[in-house]
């Protein structure tokens, strides 16, 4: 009959009952996620968007991007549902192809920043001392420089180096993850710091496990719920950053299409004022995708960690 146990459970008997439930935490989280209508909507939308971008072009008669001179700058019609651009390309088809690039950039740069961020964060949190100092100072530095000017500069450098369009998307991914990892590293590090205080880590100490095993088998998996949430949300951030950069002509550059660089047409006064079908669809696509990711991410946060919700 300890006093501490009393304080916790007295305030909310529900919590006590919850923790006693034997179901696996993942199944439990999934059940919670399914109940969250907004998150499910987001997930369904993302799946549809993924299908739209990957499978969609297969059903399009315009996929070869042939320039049909007679057909340029047409407003939406029965043949071209979203109209055609100034080279006579079907906007709807381009939207799908651009979506492939934008989504790929978003997901790939997320994976890369999660990889860098979690490894560096775990190493910093586990070894502490000088390693920690060096890694975290570096992260601080990257987080201090305002990200947009830095991205713009890096994009400008890419243009000056005349990097071909095909390679640029890889470099853009790299740029975005360079800016993305410090935040993740900080999170993982603080989680690792608290986890190392727990009994099960003291147990691994007694067992004499190797460091690598301790970090990758015992510590990092425990940060997974948080990591999943942050990673999901960071895809949204990456898609937004990519779109800004590409809109400015500093990210993914034509002929490779991306949602951002499709909106480049808004930079021309005539197109902007008279041909909104050129730039509105990609804008809406970015907005809808990002909001869906955000809804899903928040749903995951609520589902994976009920404590965070409160």
């Amino acid at each position: 009959m300890s006093a501490n146990a009393g304080t916790v459970s007295e305030k909310n008997p529900g919590v006590r009952a919850k923790s006693a439930k034997p179901a696996s935490p993942w199944a439990h989280a999934f059940r919670r996620l399914r109940k969250n209508r907004l998150a499910v909507t987001g997930l369904v939308f993302l799946i549809l968007m993924g299908l739209f971008c990957t499978v969609g072009p297969l059903f399009s008669p315009y996929v070869d991007e042939r320039v049909t001179g007679a057909n340029f700058n047409r407003p939406p019609s029965a043949q071209n549902w979203l109209g055609t651009d100034n080279l006579g390309r079907d906007i709807l088809t381009r939207l799908m192809l651009a979506g492939r690039i934008s989504l790929t950039v978003g997901i790939a740069s997320m994976l890369l920043s999660v990889l860098i961020g979690s490894v560096l964060g775990a190493v910093a949190g586990y070894y502490r001392g000088i390693v920690d100092q060096v890694i975290m100072r570096f992260a601080d530095v990257l987080m201090t420089i305002p990200s947009l000017p830095l991205l713009i500069i890096m994009g400008a450098v890419l243009s000056d180096l005349k990097v071909p369009s095909d390679y640029r998307i890889y470099i853009v991914m790299l740029m975005l993850s360079i800016l993305g990892w410090p935040g993740l590293a900080r999170l993982v590090r603080s989680q690792i710091l608290t986890l190392s205080q727990r009994e099960f880590m003291q147990a691994t100490e007694v067992l004499g496990l190797r460091d690598r095993r301790k970090i990758f088998v015992h510590l990092l998996p425990n940060t997974l719920p948080l990591l999943i949430v942050v990673a999901t949300l960071s895809v949204a951030g990456a898609i937004l950053s990519e779109s800004v950069l590409s809109y400015l002509g500093l990210g993914v550059t034509p002929p490779t299409p991306s949602w951002g660089n499709m909106m480049d047409s808004a930079n021309s006064l005539i197109d902007f004022q008279k041909r909104p079908w050129l730039w509105m669809p990609p804008g809406v696509a970015i907005f809808a995708t990002v909001i869906a990711i955000n809804l899903l991410g928040e749903g995951l946060r609520d589902a994976l960690d009920p404590k965070m919700k409160k």
Binding site: I145, S243, G260, L295
Partner: protein
Amino acid sequence: MAIYVLRRVLNMIPILIGVSVIIFFVFAMTPGDFVDSNQKLTPERQAELRALYGLDKPVLERYFIWMGNVLQGDFGYSMQHQIPVTSLLNQYLWNSFMIAVATLFLTWTIALFIGVFSAVRQHSWFDALVTLGVFATMSFPSFFLGLLLIKFFAVDLHWLPVGGMISTGSQTTGWAYVWEVAKHMILPVIVLTVLGVGSLTRYFRTNMLDVIRQDFVRTARAKGLKEKVVVYKHALRNALLPAITLLAFELPGLFAGAIITEKIFNWPGVGQIHMQALEIRDYPVLMGLTMLLSMLTIVGNLLADIMYGVADPRVRIK
């Protein structure tokens, strides 16, 4: 407290060095420079200019020269405008500042009211609406929102000017001038406010929800205080405390975030200058502004810590 501040100041130094190194070497990677892009120059003149601007020296030496100057407040010389970067920024910074202050004021007021209100009414339809709205504002690409607003309010409805700070060829003075500038400010301020208000509302909402569950709020209720007093005196004060730190973080972020918006609305601020400088690769300006914003961020962090220390009695004493 004094020791704490001193330690924080010392902590800033390695960050500052790191920031300057990264900024400088990213720029140093670029193949072209101002002299290259001007093809009218003879090779002799090019060499002369390079010597003049110190572009012929080794990279490392150039870094130390640049850093030394920066520490003395000299951010270099704009090649395009032919004036020191600091005077150039000084000319335009105030225009950006106007937008930033208006945005900051609006964002905080709206976020505070909506955030607190929706926290107090958690699970109400209002709260659900706010949550959805928060996600919507957080998901807008800044340029898309700007373009949409221009398209509807300026191009289609002709309610507001398309861009700039005053109408072309305008000769207004006095109040008419103020009114004209204000009209031009409306759309960019709306864009920046919408972009910022979502996350801040959420921040206030979660903070407030956290605080409302605390024991001392229950105590306040147990004392029989009016719910208004419980919420606005006991809960809000505690919820606002961590927000003070945010205030100091925000300002540099606002300048950086305004770059796209200023470009779209053609607003003559530092963001606009930044984009112009980018086009002709006026590197001293780009480096100067990035460095300045980073320094603002560092100082903002420090300020945030100090402000928090002053505001929170628990920290104040130490």
